[in-house]
Amino acid sequence: MAEIFKIDDVDHSLWLTARSTDGFRLHWNGSQIDIELLSLQGFRHQLRIGAETHEAVIAAFGDRLHIHLDGEIYEVDYADPVSHYARTLGEENADCVRAPMPGTVVSCVARAGDAVVRGDALIVIESMKLETSIKAWRSGTVETVHVEAGCAFERDALLVTLAPVRKA
């Protein structure tokens, strides 16, 4: 499985093989080339690619790389394969959340029409003497809150629906 890097919303597929001496071989776009990255000072590095040498400044923040190379700046995101393939095929785009177990609704935090971001509390439920906050699993707009404070529900009952994500 190749590795995927995104630049400006475009996926680029590549892989590395190790060379017996130091360094690696980059396989991309149907060609291969020997590459090596040396750390100079601080964020400054030297890239050896084929017969060429380039100086680059590289800073990483999580899975995002900020690169200054030959007078231009690039932002490159690494997409780890499991998340990448889960995401591209809609794994995280489910539209509704169901009750994990039977219980009662303590309070409804969100209302229909509210814009929420991932992690925002939607409703608070209580079950087996434990209060749980049901949080938004993705960003979006609340379409319907199917329950109200005080009502009881069974396992798998529909709790909150977010407006479907429009696929580009």
Binding site: F5, L16, A18, F24, F43, L69, E72, I73, Y78
Partner: protein, 494 residues
Amino acid sequence: MTALGSIKTVLVANRGEIALRILGTVKSLGLRSVIIYHALDSDSPAVSMADEAVEITGPTPVAAYLDGEQVLAVARKSGAQAIHPGYGFLSENADFARKVEDAGLIFIGPSPETIELLGDKIRARAFVAAQGFPVAPSAIEDEDPTSFNERARALGPPLLIKPAAGGGGKGMHIVRDMALLDETITRARSEGQRYFGDGRLYAERYVERPRHIEVQVLGDAHGNIVHLFERECSLQRRFQKVVEESPSPALTPELRTRICDVAVGIAKTAGYRNAGTVEFIYGGGAFYFLEMNTRLQVEHRVTEAVTGLDLVREQLRIAAGEPLGYGQDAIAVSGHAIELRIYAEDPARDFLPTTGHVLVFDVPCGEGVRVDAGIRVGQNITAAFDPMLAKLIVHGADRNDAIEKARAALRQFVLLGFPTNIGFLNRLIATEEFRSGEVHTGLIGEKPDIAAPPVPSEDKLRAVLAIAALSTRSVVDAAKRVPALHVSLGAWRN
């Protein structure tokens, strides 16, 4: 401790790059410095540079810097004799200037009356026109609110609807299709109310492909006024300046003299004191007074580069009561300077403001290259404040030299952590139009193709991907995990 007249301590009531810039001169004069800061700015370079730093609070970060009472309290408590307001925030707030003077402190800028007169764009316009200086045909709402729409319509297209209390290019609308005039007026009014607390408007004939040319003036408390020549600020986006230069490539020596003389004339008639800028619209051989800014401007460094003067030093001297000490003939322009404003914005996404942490900040250096920045590595850039991060000012022997210096400096400018307009600036000053000096305020809007970076060449992309792959731990580890034998066999199949 050194003193400048009665000024021993100066309070800098601002933030970011301008605070740092002002502090630089304050310190070089041997004066004591105090700075106010909001918690979000606690790790900014200006805060560490000042002799004393006092935290201020507010319902929003911007509100804190707009809180005149709080600023005054800090000034009193810290024993500052003078307050430098920088630009934006309280710098053109006549009320605040008055309160400062009432408190027995020195407001580094013009008098409250001057600020009031010139701060109200409609009053200022009327004043300048009355003195016989050129202004663009216009319709002022105040004169007769009921007939405003009609009078505006009578100006004919194209026209500009502007908020009376506005500034800095906010809340302005161009109308070319008169059918949209009424709704545009309504919208501009509500924006004026929202941004400036004042919904009054005026309409002005719009000059197509106008050039924005401004003249820097300095006046002391003794009636002496000089100009420091002009700056061309035509490269704008949504009425915000992006690139400024001096001298203007559009002006003949004769025109230059005329515009500068008009500027001095306006300043004299207004009894102007301290630093100020007279802005003009220039097009089709004619120029019209636009507005006068009663403060130090963002782009003042361009004037400093070509004239050799330190404007903040002159402001402090003037505020301390010193006479200018030199006349107009002592001021000359040498070489050519260009300033490029570095913004935290993404040109590829319609210039939306960007946020993030400053991971790397390496500025270009060299002869004729200076960077004014109020940020440091590790700083968290949020949407709380204006997205301007830094100014790159280059000074060359002539315009082409300055452009080359600017291009090289932009390429060496390493600011990593979030998208900026650095690449866009380089593409902008590389255009034929900029090189030939054929700029106007609508130019950036006419070139949407340079907003987004060009698709990288295959070689560039390969290099970037090589760097990305080698910098990603899991990719490197995956390659290293394969046993040597299998690496040597490659993708062999039987």
